[in-house]
């Protein structure tokens, strides 16, 4: 097959554009070449603009042109023209975004072929496994999708707006009560405070956070310097409390732990135990200390409720992928990108311009998407 021969010596770029961070590298490699913020410097105003803040399709097109340029000419260091690319995308990726990205890659950068892979599915390949409950905690939302025998069970899909964005907002609000001037801090500083000071506390301690007279001593406070002159106080209570928002049940009694159990509930009864014993956590937010331990505690707590008793689950088991969680999905793309899948499934430039649409995935997505 000529197409295969042409591919074999070519570098295949694997790209995972996240809302907050973009993972970029080459197929067959064990880690991305770079993980950078999904943002570009706007030439007109000379300010940093996030990709997700796009105003319309034209604006997004221009932002992505600049962003992809940086990826190729600062990190990949080769010309994108006539080369294939693998894009790992979230199931919740808006149609406008994926179509504009494809347009930028095909029209502006003249790539030869594009393979779009769903992140939940390919993330699983890092385990060499076929069945797991995949929870991706990203910037905007947490998404849980069971994957059975290599296929995502779309109708069991669950999502809640529980990502780093809500955690950053929560941290800003909590810091506000002890400090002044917090509202003006850029999100990157809030993120840095989160990453360097905060953690997910234990269930027992969390119960004490809302009590008037707690029986525990909170973790030591941190004096966090801002710009060399100011210091803000990150109290022990804030450090422990900021992630609690993931487990505060909303009006419908939904939170991170119920999401997983609801996803399991919607799957065929034979597969439920298998999913509970194969949980894969991906996304940068799950890397915070204490995340896994607490999630396990919370899952067991929810299991005692009537609505989940019928599940008859006895244990939850978690996978440890051979990589850091913030690039697990990318790594899955790099694994698939190293296979023949590209020559089998990729959308070629000729086909893209002939049909002027992306194949299949959105149609399938329309079948289950109700909101957004």
């Amino acid at each position: 097959m000529p197409i295969y021969e042409a591919l074999s010596d070519k570098l295949t770029v694997v790209l995972d554009v996240g809302s907050a961070y973009t993972k970029f590298g080459f197929s067959g490699e064990y880690a991305p070449r770079c993980i950078i913020r999904s943002e570009v410097r706007c030439k007109k105003t000379n300010t940093i603009r996030r990709i997700i803040d796009y105003e319309n399709q034209k604006d997004l097109y221009d932002l992505l042109v600049d962003f992809v340029h940086v990826l190729y000419f600062k990190y990949a260091l080769f010309s994108p023209k006539d080369k294939p690319i693998v894009v790992v995308e979230s199931l919740l990726c808006p149609t406008l975004f994926r179509e504009t990205l494809a347009k930028v890659l095909f029209e502006h950068y003249e790539i030869s072929m594009l393979l779009m892979l769903p992140s939940h599915l390919v993330g699983l390949s890092t385990l060499g496994a076929e069945t797991a409950l995949v929870l991706d905690v990203g910037y905007f939302e947490a998404v849980a999708i069971p994957v059975c025998h290599g296929l995502p069970v779309i109708h069991a899909w669950q999502a809640l707006p529980l990502g780093s964005q809500i955690i950053h907002n929560n941290l800003r609000a909590l810091l506000n009560s002890d400090n002044t001037g917090i509202n003006n801090l850029p999100e990157s500083v809030i993120e840095d405070i989160k990453v360097r000071c905060c953690f997910v506390t234990k269930q027992k301690r969390a119960a004490q956070l809302s009590v008037a007279k707690p029986e525990i001593t909170f973790a030591p406070e941190v004096k966090y310097p801002i710009g060399g002159s100011e210091i803000i106080t990150v109290s022990g209570k804030v450090r422990e409390k900021v992630y609690e928002i993931l487990y505060d049940e909303d009006n419908d009694h939904l939170c991170l732990s119920t999401m997983l159990l609801d996803a399991i509930t919607k799957v065929d009864i034979h597969l439920r135990n298998k999913l509970a014993e194969n949980i894969l956590l991906i996304g940068g937010t799950v890397m915070v200390p204490g995340f896994k331990a607490r999630l396990k505690e919370e899952l067991h707590k929810q299991l005692k409720h009537d609505r989940y008793k019928k599940l008859k689950i006895s244990s939850f088991k978690f996978h440890t992928p051979p990589c850091k969680e913030n690039y697990t999905a990318w790594l899955g793309g790099a694994i698939y990108g190293a296979t023949e899948l590209l020559s089998m499934k990729a959308l070629t430039r000729e086909k893209y311009f002939k049909e002027n649409r992306l194949p299949d995935w959105p149609n399938m997505r329309d079948n289950f998407r109700t909101n957004n």
Binding site: Y30, V65, F78, T126, G128, T201, H270, L341, F353, P359
Partner: protein, 497 residues
């Protein structure tokens, strides 16, 4: 050059529809069109290290993962690390007179980080030998990649077999990738707990990962030990070492410096280069530099009267002819829709795949195209409409302005004008060598608010003399009209009529 021609008050509309200052535009001599960084094709020309200036062939750069083998950056602040000498006792301990052995370590002169901080032993050679760490999961990941390669290959072969046997129905069933809707619907809810047949068939399979019930607990010290922020890494520091992402500073290791590139730019219509740098990383010169600055008359604003809505203000602009040929400038009214120079009729919004387009003859572009034999012709993108709005009318003069060729010697000649040009005195107020000062009347539109920024525009038509002989017989310089839409930001409205 931006500071010489800045501030950007005069902008030219590129063929693609974006507005740029003349210093960031290119002029393709083969298409006789303006090009800019947005509408040309960027290509990586050569790789080099910005610190040691070593040039690397692209294959070697790829092998080294685009990093210099000898230079390192600081894992703490990303500045370049310096190699420092730290002597370490006499080379022969029994003989105290023997010369001390030189040992080297890496040090950051900016944040004082040093390779000794993290316990990396000093090296006896100045040039590297610094230990590189392997990905701890490398073996497992290689196994998994091989497994998926084999699996997908088996599936592909199965498909081809099935295709031959005309058993199309089963195609989607073996589709492990989950990318087709049909396969998915069939699969959902199936209670089968069978191993994938392809997985079973394959020999020497790595075991699938086993999930564990025991998870790492929250480190107890986080609850009791005070945090020393200087010991906790930032996100940037973590993401510099992606496979490890160390949370504490004692796990930071020196990072190989990322290579830089030189880019060449290619016109997407004719595949000729508009810019190509010299290979040597120390050279800032170009082999090909078709900057618009050398081919298109430059316009500068000299003076403008205070702008009042509805009242004509006198605007004086300077035209400079950068070429070796005389040119004539005609000021035409602005047409905002479409491109003035567009010759071929492109319909529809979609770019056309130029199947019929032939690569340029190799005689006109010798070396660079030969190596790119596999290169596909570029896609033509329909230009977008200019987004800039104009809120002032320019009175279009009836006469033309002749600009003599550039003559560097004339710059030092004060003896007066040797060009005998009959100027329209209402239009040309002053001229010297290849420059002319031209008076125009601009009238800001009625009904604008005070302090509105006034932008006026016109189309500048100039005669471009093409010196590249297109055919062997035709040695006559090829002259033709070239239209450029020009936008002038004149300042703010100060009053009303």
């Amino acid at each position: 050059m931006a500071h010489v021609v800045g501030p950007e008050v005069v902008k030219y509309a590129c063929t693609c529809g974006l507005l740029k200052s003349i210093s960031s535009l290119y002029f393709c001599r083969y298409c006789c069109q303006l090009r800019c960084g947005f509408c040309v094709c960027h290509e990586v020309d050569s790789h080099f290290c910005g610190k040691c200036c070593e040039n690397l062939p692209s294959s070697e750069a790829r092998l080294k993962k685009n990093r210099c083998g000898n230079c390192y950056i600081c894992p703490s602040c990303q500045q370049e690390l310096s190699t420092r000498i730290g002597s370490k006792g006499p080379s022969n301990p029994e003989d105290p007179k023997s010369t001390p052995k030189k040992m080297y370590y890496l040090s950051c002169l900016y944040c004082r980080w040093s390779s000794r901080d993290v316990g990396i032993p000093d090296q006896s050679a100045a040039t590297g030998g610094w230990p590189d760490r392997e990905n701890v999961n490398a073996n497992r990941l290689q196994e998994i990649i091989e497994m998926y390669k084999a699996m997908v290959l088996a599936e592909k072969q199965q498909k081809e077999k099935d295709k031959k046997k005309q058993r199309g129905k089963y195609l989607s069933y073996t589709d492990r990738t989950g990318v087709t809707a049909a396969a998915l619907r069939k699969r959902i809810g199936l209670p089968v707990d069978i191993q994938h047949s392809l997985l079973k068939a394959k020999p020497k399979e790595p075991e699938p990962a086993i999930a564990k019930e025991d998870v790492e607990d929250l480190p107890e010290e986080l609850l009791t030990k005070p945090v020393n922020l200087t010991e906790v890494t930032t996100i940037e520091q973590r993401l510099l070492q992606i496979d490890l992402q160390p949370t504490t500073v004692e796990k930071l290791f020196p990072v190989h410096k990322q290579l830089s590139i030189k880019r060449s730019l290619r016109c997407r219509s004719c595949e000729h280069n508009v810019s190509k740098p010299e290979y040597n990383p120390n050279s800032v010169k170009f082999k090909i530099q078709l900057f618009a600055y050398y081919h298109v008359p430059e316009i500068r604003i000299v003076t403008v009267e205070p702008l009042r809505a509805g009242r004509p203000s006198e605007l004086i602009i300077k035209f400079t002819n950068p070429t070796q040929h005389q040119t004539t400038i005609t000021i035409l009214s602005l047409v905002l829709s479409g491109d003035e120079n567009e010759v071929k009729e492109e319909t529809g919004d979609q770019p056309s795949l130029p199947q019929e387009k032939q690569p340029p003859s190799l005689s006109s572009q010798p070396s660079s195209l030969l190596s790119l034999s596999s290169r596909q012709p570029s896609i033509t993108i329909k230009p977008r409409p200019v987004s800039q709005e104009v809120n002032a009318d320019v009175a279009i003069p009836s006469s033309k302005v002749i600009l003599p060729p550039r003559d560097d010697a004339a710059e030092y000649d004060d003896s007066g004008d040797t060009h005998n040009i009959q100027d329209d005195p209402k239009l040309v107020v002053w001229r010297k060598s290849n420059k002319a000062f031209v008076k125009l009347l601009v009238t800001p539109k009625q009904g604008l608010a005070l302090n509105t920024e006034i932008v006026a525009g016109f189309t500048m038509q100039h005669i471009y003399t093409n010196t590249i002989a297109t055919t062997v017989e035709n040695r006559e310089p090829d002259k033709h009209d070239h239209n450029i839409r020009v936008f002038l930001t004149l300042g703010n409205l100060v009053g009303f009529d």
